[in-house]
Amino acid sequence: MSSGPKAASKPWAHVLGPLLCLAWPLAAAAQDIPAPSQPAPQQHVKIAFVQVDGDPRYAPIRASDRIILKAPEHPFAGAEVGLDEAAPLVRVLNTDFTLDRVVVKSPADVAPAVLQAADAGTHFFLIDAPAEAYRPLAAAVRGRDLLLFNVSESDDVLRRDLCAAEFVHVYPSRAQLMDGLVQYVVSRKWTNLLELQGPSPDDAAMTAAFEHSVQKFGAHIVAQRKFKPGTDPRDREQNDPALLSAINRDFDVAFVADSDFDFVRTVPYHLVRPRPVIGSIDLEPVAWHWTWDHNGAPQVNSRFEKRSGGRHMEGADWAAWVAVKMIVQSVLHTNSADFSTQRAFILGAGSFDGDKGLAVSVRPWDHQLRQAVLLAAPYEVIANAPIEGFLHQTNELDTLGDDQPESACHLNR
């Protein structure tokens, strides 16, 4: 393994203030190669990874008794793995790649930070920011020679309403994730669904995406219930999974939209009928899972675990890894130092190996990466959507998410 300087730890980043840049030059890794005469790289490709300090999506999720259930991490290590893989290519490409980590204080600071790095010659950005950062960012970069890869936000609004040509959404949209989930239950003929929706706007968005998928693939929602997390006995009709599921129609599966991962933990084994739970627990649609063991995934997981100090690779890590890979491959396969040629490859002919089956590529209409969705139980990937039998006239991956005819975004027109 090559050894580069360690990535910034979060507390340190906090102390250093609004803008922190750490360059991690690839040249250090390339020194291992005993090539006899290595010409100095002709081209330097800079990639900036922009994250927001205190991003609530990365707050630890705790049980009520202060037990930490999940401690999500920014996907920087995923980008590092992509850069590690590029090390042997430096010789072939006459190009070196650098990855800078930029930590800003708030979502509003993302756009200024991107512009500052752009003025210093960076064309490629990995954006790890919550949805609210995207509107000002889109306005700031419109028409600039930049490509910004969304590596962690699934909000459909970014693909539909914002619809900006400078973005590539590598992370799957909610629509893709929910389509994958519903394809699976429909393939099992579990078409009668109970829907339990939480109080947050994210829960509402997830539920809307789910309902759209249910309609698309011909399942039925037999009852819709809104839950209210808590223990107040006066609210028991809304906080007790047994009472919430005590309906006079049978159902095959209970879908729960709970982005807080709070109430949903109490649902399995507490429904009035013995039925599986999907959505936010037990069977979740994800971009990546650490137990996926096909298509070269074990090697990627292993490289990631080494690079991240033993963490399991998650969806956003996968997206950051693929984004860097897309950038590197655009140089490799165009053999060009010109940004617009590289961008044209990424947005056009480029198809990339995402290690989950069918090759991934960018949809020309909304710049969403078409990709498989993994249906993950805690210790096993149960299925890889598109599920066999869901057919498409050109690419089965377009059975997931907004296909061209129904897309609200038409960047290719």
């Binding site: 291992d32 893989e85 490289r303 490799l332 090759a359």
Partner: protein, 327 residues
């Protein structure tokens, strides 16, 4: 003797053993490595029955016989070793230490060397077969896979699955001398017998790339699409070429077919239906029979090359990877 069936049985077994030992070479027996059941199954080519089940180190994949077929070398990915199987006794008699997760390898018995791609450490390990030491580890692109040694032993070719590269490595000095960019996820090699071309399967690109070995550039590509299959299922991995350099057979992975390619014209002549996720492929010495390992079907397919039809499918272990024939 007639009065003692037990003795007779023992005598028969002993005779059988003696016979087996004497006939260890050229048995025609088919050896199949099974990634998930950690064993080598031996199949009788006449009866299509499994006649031996040999436990080896974990995750056995690529296999090669030495020149006199007295030993079978088996790369075992999860134990980071190449097991050395004594063919006559079916016992593992030695283990060569490799880097992390050995997948495929090539042997050069003249130089007493094994070149093995170590998938996780992204290196090509050069192993001294006699001393059981790694003489050198050559850094490659990420996830190296296919390995091929030139006839003169001077050059080793390696694919990098993640790097979309084929490396040419100077075998003596142990570093990469040339690279050529090929399609997405290059896997394995076949060399034309005239030594001029290197054929490389590219799994995600769904093609076979043809490299001119002299100039080390890509000079052609072959596309595949078996009838009724989708382009995205075409994931070529294994390939073999006949000794006259006229015909190549390519396993198409998820497209569940073997493509028959006319080498001089680089055109596909036909497709043969096989099982799920076909990768490993080998030809019998007389080139009348083709054996294909179906990784996700847990079986192998036996093909008659004259009729280009599958003759039989034989259940083997879990996730069969490679097939070699003792002849």
């Amino acid at each position: 003797m007639n009065g003692c069936p037990m003795l007779r049985l023992v005598a028969t077994i002993l005779m059988g053993l003696a016979f087996a030992r004497a006939e260890a070479k050229d048995t025609g027996l088919i050896y199949v490595s099974n990634e998930k059941s950690n064993n080598i199954l031996v199949v009788d080519p006449k009866t299509y029955k499994v006649v031996n089940d040999i436990a080896v180190s974990r995750r056995p994949r690529d296999m090669h016989f030495n020149a006199d077929h007295s030993k079978l070398y088996i790369a075992c990915g999860d134990d980071d070793v190449i097991d050395v199987l004594d063919v006559a006794t079916s016992k593992v008699v030695d283990k060569l230490v490799t880097g992390s997760s050995p997948e495929t390898f090539a042997m050069d018995e003249t130089r007493r060397r094994i070149y093995v791609s170590d998938e996780e450490s992204s290196t090509l390990a050069i192993i001294n077969m006699d001393r059981n030491i790694i003489e050198k580890e050559v850094p490659t692109g990420a996830e190296p896979e296919g390995v091929l040694v030139s006839a003169d032993g001077k050059t080793v070719y390696v694919t990098s699955e993640v790097g979309d590269l084929v490396h040419a490595i100077d075998a003596d000095r142990g570093y990469v001398t040339q690279d050529v960019v090929v399609g997405t996820r290059p896997r394995r090699f076949a060399a034309t017998p005239d030594g001029k071309e290197l054929w490389v399967s590219t799994e995600m690109a769904g093609e076979v790339y043809i490299i001119d070995r002299q100039k080390f550039v890509v000079t052609g590509k072959i596309d595949f699409l078996p009838p009724g299959m989708r382009q995205t299922d075409v994931t070529p991995v294994g390939l073999v070429m006949t000794k006259d350099g006229k015909t190549a057979y390519v396993t198409l992975g998820h497209a569940a077919h073997v493509a028959v390619v006319d080498v001089p014209t680089r055109t596909v002549q036909g497709y043969i239906l096989v099982g799920k996720r076909s990768w490993g492929i080998t030809l019998s010495r007389d080139e009348k029979t083709l054996y294909v390992a179906n990784g996700l079907g847990d079986d192998i397919t036996v093909i008659n090359t004259a009729s280009r039809k599958a003759v039989v499918s034989i259940p083997v272990g879990r996730v069969p990877w490679g097939i070699v024939v003792d002849e």
